[in-house]
Amino acid sequence: MTTRTDLVYLIALPLFSSAFLLLLGRIADKWGHFFATAISASTFGIGLYEFFAMRSRSGDFRAATQRIFEWISVGTFKVDASLLLDQLSICFVLLITGVGTLIHIYSIAYMSHDRDRRRFFAYLNLFIAAMLLLVLGDSYLNLYVGWEGVGLASYLLIGFWNERPAYATAAKKAFVANRVGDVGLSLAIMIAFTQFGSVTFSGVKDAALHASSAALTALGAMLLLAAAGKSAQFPLQSWLGDAMAGPTPVSALIHAATMVTAGVYLITRSNFIFDASSTARLLVVIVGAITLLFGAIVGTAKDDIKKALAASTMSQIGYMILATGLGPVGYAFAIMHLLTHGFFKASMFLGAGSVMHGMNDEVNMRRYGGLGKVMPITAVTFGLGYLAIIGVPPFAGFYSKDKIIETAFNAGGARGILLGGAALLGAAITAFYMTRVVVLTFTGQKRWADGTHPHESPSLMLIPIILLSVGSVASGFLLNKGNALVHWLAPVVDASGAEGGAELFKPIVVSALALGVVVLGVLTAVLKYRGTVPVEAPAGSPLTRFARRDLGQDDFNHRVLVLPGRAITKSLVGMDFHFVDGIVRAVGWTLSYLSLSLKKVQNGYVRSYALLMTIGAIALLATIWLVTL
């Protein structure tokens, strides 16, 4: 462990830049976006430097800490504002600042016509700062500040165009759903303090060895609830689709590559809790498996390109969550998929933004078609991302997703077959819906609305996409080469004592199976969508309609939460007036009818009151005098 004094700049730079741009106001309109981009790029520079410095140190000295100041100290509850940069957090630092900077650059062009571009960039910087705090905090409470901080940034960015009521509602929905998850994180911290007397990662890790299994399971369940809120996992997934109301670069950065993966970070960071509680792990894999299928099914039915990609994000994070629940071997694979997903999903989202940019902000894929010819670069880069996500070798997703499917099968017994089967089925559906997106958007006939003149986007937008698609191609290979990431993360997730488990299938068999179902999914989609595609969505089967409605998630929430909530509010408002205050009024009236003197109180105002007070004081003195006689 190395002690440092300069880690804080990683967070301080974007934080102050954000405040600076917001406080300066319109004065900074001309250059605010360049300033924010430069700040973001400099954090990436620091991140790179830290990475290479860390790599050059030997294992025991790689992790570094900085105590910034004493934050809260009451009794034994002592929390410092402290940072921890270790092998796990550096992965996130590079992802956040790297992808973040590319998205800053992209946004300079994408938001060039928006009158509030400076404010947009201030929010992006705020997000970078909060997300870095989330992954650098050395305690659950520091993490919590970043955790809600990214929630705030997400709220501000989803509602960036909040003069449209639907967008403002989407922002609010995201915040509230996240708050439900935050209840989990709050309670987890309280459990940790009550049980272990500490809320730092290292303190909890040390004490967890002596903890009761009930406490560990409760803690794990609460952390999972938190992860489900932030990472749009079942049953708190409903906000992510609506969050696509935000500008597309935001969807790429926050709602695909970084923030929504924070739940995976949280569980990986808390590996010592989940390693010690098989019940908590079981809950994790159930949530992961349900969500990966849920998202994939919803993805097949969406005509809105951003919502299709959002459903896909939910599904891919389901894979990551599943992996984190598979025991010590799974964490590194979860992080690997998280990193590769960061590249290919961000690249595809930015590609979707590029398409929308050329299509007058049209998002309906039924209005696309044949765009490959007019937007060749966008189409090719999107295609590379596509090959990565469906898991074609040697693209990035092949390495990371295969590992998860393999590990799931190896979970043992019926559980292994179920989880592996779910992951395999998810891969098939992923291949189907992603092929559908590509076919509908880039191939076939033009179904453009009148007055649409699609064109390739400016190079400021294309360069970030191209760089990200390089990652879609190569990142999986590089991370997997010689088990590089697994070894790198080993000190954090402590997979040393882990049994690999009996192999159900040989890796090559799993790969073959996965490839087989992917080919099946691709062919089905090609056959289904290669002909004419109606501009209006056909009625579809009941199942399709159900999937379009996000498998009824909003109807469910409306009936089970919103309507009863409104009923409670309404009845309490009525009760407060008629019953609680009613009693008060009744007492008042009764007294005023019974007593003339009280009427005088009500009429005589202060004089009477002062008199009464005097009488009271005199009575007091008289009593005292009587007593002391």
């Binding site: 709220y155 609010k172 309280m190 009550t194 004490a207 009761s212 409670i568 007070m613």
Partner: protein, 501 residues
């Protein structure tokens, strides 16, 4: 003379000085009142500077016989608990005087009277937190109602007379109960140690449990009305809707804290056994307050009514923290009193400016203010983030301390309390959406943004909300010794971690 006495007298003398200015010269009256309240702020700053964080017990003590036959004394002194509440008073007073520049116009009495009443209120609030003699405390506790009553009834809006009367009658009821309890404990003291009203001596009495329970309730109900705790809260929304913003800030932000302050200073310290007996009931009431206040806030259409019900919810957190009887809960609750003061101040002041500009306090009449008045909208938004206790803003620290402290002793209560954070997100964000987002509502187009005076008034509040979110240490350093002393007096110590190293 103790600096605390000097501080008590400063606003009173200031009020007298205002009479030297002609009634018609309202501008000078306002400027003088603000300047003089800044002097009081300076003196309180000096007290804070000289305050010894390592000392136990009261500091800046001063004691004179007042009515010596009955052992009544003018006795003052402050510990960390009193210090932070006094600082809250002296910081907020100049701010609300500046913010409420035009509030006194159109009142029943003159502008000068408004400022005189505000300064008298400031003086009595300082005195009530500094009093260490129970009789003195009681007298000020009652006397301070008069300026508030006149401020609501004379300068308020809408049904101001009715609201002022309701406030007064409620307080009167509480005051009478407390009076009975004060008499009771005095009688007991005469039998045991010779008649006295000194808090420290009264704490040493041996009281049989039935009497102790009755005396406890006498104090507690008076404080629960003031705080206000469910079901004694129904005077608050009316008062908040009718009072001017400046009055509301001092009433909800500071004066109501006398209730929660009194619970710590008198209920727990004087009646530790009764405290144990009633703790389960009080914890239930505070949980009801948290959730009930939050649901009612969601259901409000009036923006001031909304703020009132959020306060009822937040007072629930404060009372929960106090009676959790853990150092985190007590310190968190005390810090919460301060943070709630600033947070409520921000909400009431900005809401007041919005109401004055739009000439309506109905939330549905606002809309789209984000684009029309960005500075005002941002101020309201940050105040809202403080109300929902966003980490990084001061309320988070206190709310989390209350919850974590409660959890160590009463996990179920803490779980219920924690669900309040979802409701808080709802009441804040629904209001933010209705008033700031969406297209500009009809009648909002020409609304002007905050002027320089208003910006100067709100800036320090927002700065404090943010700074104390990251750096609550100085305030906690003042508060922690008081919490420890209170817990010792009540015979409690923090629960130990279940799985140690």
């Amino acid at each position: 003379m103790s600096l605390v006495t000097v501080l008590e007298l400063t606003p009173l003398i200031s009020a007298v000085l205002l009479y030297a200015i002609p009634k018609g010269n309202t501008k000078l009256i306002k400027q003088a009142a603000i300047a003089l309240s800044v002097v009081a702020l300076g003196i309180s700053g000096l007290i804070a500077y000289r305050f010894d964080t390592n000392a136990t017990g009261m500091q800046f003590v001063e004691s004179h016989n007042w009515i010596s036959n009955f052992g009544i004394k003018y006795a003052v002194g402050i510990d960390g608990l009193a210090l932070v509440l006094i600082l809250l008073t002296t910081i907020l007073t100049p701010i609300v005087l500046l913010a409420g520049w035009n509030e006194a116009e159109g009142g029943r009495w003159s502008v000068r009277t408004f400022y005189v009443l505000m300064l008298i209120l400031e003086s009595s609030m300082i005195a009530v937190f500094a009093a260490t003699d129970v009789f003195l405390f009681y007298v000020i506790f009652e006397a301070m109602l008069i300026p508030v009553y006149l401020l609501i009834g004379g300068y308020g809006r809408g049904e101001r007379a009715a609201a002022a009367m309701k406030f007064l009658l409620y307080s009167l009821l509480g005051g009478l109960l407390m009076l009975a309890a004060v008499i009771g404990i005095y009688i007991i003291s005469t039998n045991q140690i010779g008649g006295t009203f000194e808090t420290a001596k009264l704490a040493t009495l041996h009281i049989d449990s039935l009497t102790e329970n009755c005396l406890f309730l006498g104090f507690f109900i008076a404080f629960a009305i003031k705080a206000p705790l469910w079901p004694f809260h129904t005077w608050l929304p009316g008062a908040a809707k009718s009072a001017t913003p400046a009055t509301s800030v001092l009433l909800l932000g500071v004066l109501d804290k006398v209730g929660t302050y009194g619970m710590i200073r008198f209920c727990i310290t004087l009646f530790p056994h009764a405290t144990k007996t009633f703790t389960p009931l009080i914890i239930v009431l505070s949980i009801i307050s948290i959730l009930y206040g939050a649901f009612l806030a969601i259901g409000q259409r009036d923006i001031n009514g909304l703020i009132a019900f959020t306060s009822i919810s937040h007072f629930g957190f404060i009372v929960l923290g106090i009676f959790s009887m853990t150092s985190q809960g007590l310190s968190g609750a005390t810090l919460y009193m301060v943070n709630h003061g600033f947070s409520t101040a921000a909400l009431f002041l900005v809401a007041g400016w919005m109401v004055a500009r739009r000439n309506s306090s109905q939330i549905e009449d606002f809309g789209g203010l984000q684009r029309i008045t960005p500075v005002m909208a941002w101020s309201f938004f940050i105040a809202g983030m403080s109300a929902l206790a966003l980490p990084g803003i001061s309320s988070f620290v206190s709310e989390f301390l209350v919850l974590v402290g409660t959890f160590t002793r009463y996990p179920v209560a803490a779980i219920f309390g924690t669900t309040g954070i979802v409701l808080a997100a709802l009441y804040v964000l629904i209001t933010v959406q209705r008033s700031l987002h969406g297209p500009a509502a009809p009648g909002n187009e020409g609304i002007s943004d905050l002027n320089l005076r208003e910006k100067i008034a709100i800036a320090p509040v927002i700065a404090l909300l943010v700074i104390m979110g990251f750096f609550p240490k100085p305030v906690l350093d003042w508060i922690n010794p008081s919490s420890t002393a209170t817990m010792q007096a009540a015979g409690y110590s923090d629960p130990l971690p279940k799985a140690g190293k």
